[in-house]
């Protein structure tokens, strides 16, 4: 196990009384930029107040999407950071409008306030040495993977990203990941290249070429199972980023559990505070 494991009842002792950098905060951010990336995805970037903690790749914020005009999101919405720019005090999200909350979010204009709470959760862990890593992502899963590329490159890892989508025009982040230093391979349903056997072949090739010392996956349980079997076959380190509906976002309500394998038993772990990034082998996908 390379990833810190949390027992639901084991929490950091003697927590400080006042939030300090690194602890999640409720923040009144300002919308800086809000653009359509393609037909389905939007990019929202925020200016943060000075002195707030910044997210690590794989962490998320809990967003208070604004109500009004018939849309009444009650809960906050969890959203992974897609771009983290601590030096400019900015954070960016890549998202898809799927329901009430994201539709409300889509109405934000530059200059609007946006109440966000975070950063939350446990992000990605890099392998101990500078082993080359492979990212495998589909759909919004790419948003979660985004910041892993520069993070891994800065720490000396070669990065290969295998990006999957329904069609080529829905592929995102290809250029961005290339610029950040990743080798990018793309597979799509419409080109018939995204089926499991083909992707499995790709991964096996990468392993054979010594380009896959660790595997990171997000956005599809089909790909997660595939990654699990490739990682198990070759004894690779791996992580998976999972989603589940959330209420509190901090570990107290137990609504965001998912099942995991632990010593042959099925156990529940909370995605919000024991994840959203989990050891690949343990997820029941």
């Amino acid at each position: 196990m390379m990833m810190p494991m949390l027992d639901p009842d084991v929490v950091p002792p003697a927590a400080p009384a006042r939030p300090v950098p690194g602890r999640p905060l409720e923040i009144e951010a300002l919308v800086r930029e809000h653009v359509c990336v393609n037909d389905e995805y939007r990019y929202l970037s925020l200016d943060l107040p000075d002195g707030v903690p910044h997210a690590r790749p794989g962490q998320f914020y809990h967003l208070l999407c604004p109500g009004g005009d018939g849309l009444e999101p009650f809960f906050r919405r969890p959203m992974s950071v897609y771009r983290v720019e601590p030096e400019r005090n900015r954070v960016g999200f890549l998202y898809k409008v799927t329901g009430t909350g994201t539709a409300a979010m889509a109405r934000l204009w530059p200059g609007d306030g946006f109440n966000i709470f975070g950063p939350l959760g446990i992000g990605f862990t890099l392998p101990a040495d500078t082993a080359p890593i492979v990212l495998l992502g589909r759909g919004v899963g790419l948003a979660t993977m985004g910041p892993l590329v520069p993070f891994a490159r800065e720490n000396g890892h070669r990065v290969t990203a295998v990006l999957s989508a329904r069609a080529p025009e829905l592929l995102m982040s290809v250029e961005e990941m290339r610029i950040a230093g990743a080798d990018v391979l793309t597979v799509t349903d419409s080109e018939g290249t995204s089926a499991v056997p083909h992707v499995e072949g790709l991964l096996e090739d990468l392993v054979a070429q010594g380009r896959c010392g660790a595997l990171y996956v997000c956005g599809s349980s089909r790909l997660t199972r595939l990654a699990q079997s490739v990682a198990a076959r070759h004894g690779l380190f791996g992580e998976v980023a999972l989603e589940q509906q959330m209420a509190c976002g901090v570990g107290v309500c137990f609504c965001c559990v998912r099942p995991f394998r632990e010593n042959g038993e099925t156990v529940h772990r909370r995605v919000c505070c024991e994840g959203p990034v989990f050891p690949l082998a343990e997820a029941l996908a």
Binding site: R18, P24, C253, F254
Partner: protein, 317 residues
């Protein structure tokens, strides 16, 4: 200095604001200042290890949430060993919420958690009593009186009975809990409710029905808290839809001696501390020296206001 302190159910509280069971945990220690709270109230624990209900466990509805978390639990022993000692580092008193499906198991559990570090026990009697056809203890006065009496005999700690709003006559249940020996009443747990996804035609919760909480329930629970405060002589702790100091004041005015804040913390993580700050501001702005003076101050003299409504007519003048 405004005096926010209250005595409530056998405890002296620095202020009348505490979390609602199931919406609070050690995980929040870095998020707001634990020292500020009137008390700590833990998630309900059960005698044995449990996994909890299937997902989806929550769903949002107009100004409220449905939950059917169930009570995932590591069991009482792990709780006593690992969790209770951690609360010793803060000053507010620790209230432990417990529940069980038979009177015997309930009494055993009360004994198990009656340890140093625990200031009071909140008994969640909204759970099914397997010896009474699965009806929740708190649905009827008789079963309430009996279980509270059993638990009263099992522990010397102050006992807070948490009632269910699904009972038909909550005032009678409140009286029964008092007769059984409760030191305070928590009014109330969530209201049984459901919602359906009309596209899939499936219930939105894995467990079909769940408990409603949040602002939507406030007017209903406020009414029940008022009824209980009139029916019983022990303190009532209001709990249901409280998100702001104004909400808390409504409960105090109808006679509650303290309040619990639950769902609101999911929307604004520092809701508990904000309520305390704003209560203090309200007192200051209105020349109220002690929060005690607000408790039970409901003004009924104009309840049968004359219908002339001079006040309304002059309002805009």
């Amino acid at each position: 200095m405004i005096d926010l302190s209250v005595s409530c159910g056998g405890l002296a509280l620095a202020n009348p604001v505490m979390p609602a069971s199931g919406t609070f945990g050690l995980e929040q220690a870095g998020i707001f200042d634990f020292e500020r709270l009137g008390a700590f109230v833990t998630k309900t624990i059960t005698p044995d290890k449990r996994l909890g209900n299937p997902t989806p466990r929550v769903s949002e509805v107009p100004r409220g949430m449905l939950n059917s978390i169930g009570i995932p639990s590591k069991g009482a022993d792990a709780f006593v060993r690992d969790v209770i000692p951690r609360f010793a580092q803060w000053r507010p008193p620790l209230v432990v919420s417990i529940s069980a499906n038979t009177p015997d198991a309930f009494a055993d559990l009360a004994r198990t958690v009656s340890v140093a570090g625990v200031a009071a026990i909140e008994i969640n009697i909204s759970c099914p009593n397997l010896e009474d056809d699965g009806k929740a203890f708190a649905m009827r006065p008789e079963s309430t009186r009996e279980i509270v009496r059993r638990l009263r005999d099992a522990t010397a700690l102050p006992l807070w009975a948490k009632l269910t709003p699904n009972a038909g006559d909550v005032g009678a249940v409140a009286q029964a809990a008092e007769e059984g020996g409760a030191d305070a009443l928590v009014v109330a747990n969530t209201i049984l409710a459901m919602s359906v996804d009309v596209d899939t035609r499936r219930p939105s919760l894995g467990n079909v029905m769940g408990g409603l909480s949040g602002p939507a329930v406030k007017p209903i629970i406020l009414r029940m808290a008022y009824q209980c405060a009139r029916a019983a002589t022990i303190p009532v702790i209001g709990c249901g839809g409280i998100a702001t100091a104004k909400d808390a004041l409504e409960f105090l005015i109808v006679g509650c001696r303290a309040v619990q804040v639950g769902t609101a913390s999911f929307i604004h993580p520092s809701a508990l501390v904000d309520v305390i700050d704003d209560l203090e501001d309200h007192c200051r702005a209105n020349g109220i020296a002690r929060i005690e003076d607000v408790i039970g101050s409901l003004d009924l003299t104009q309840a049968e206001r004359d219908m002339i409504g001079d006040a309304a007519l002059e309002a805009h003048a």
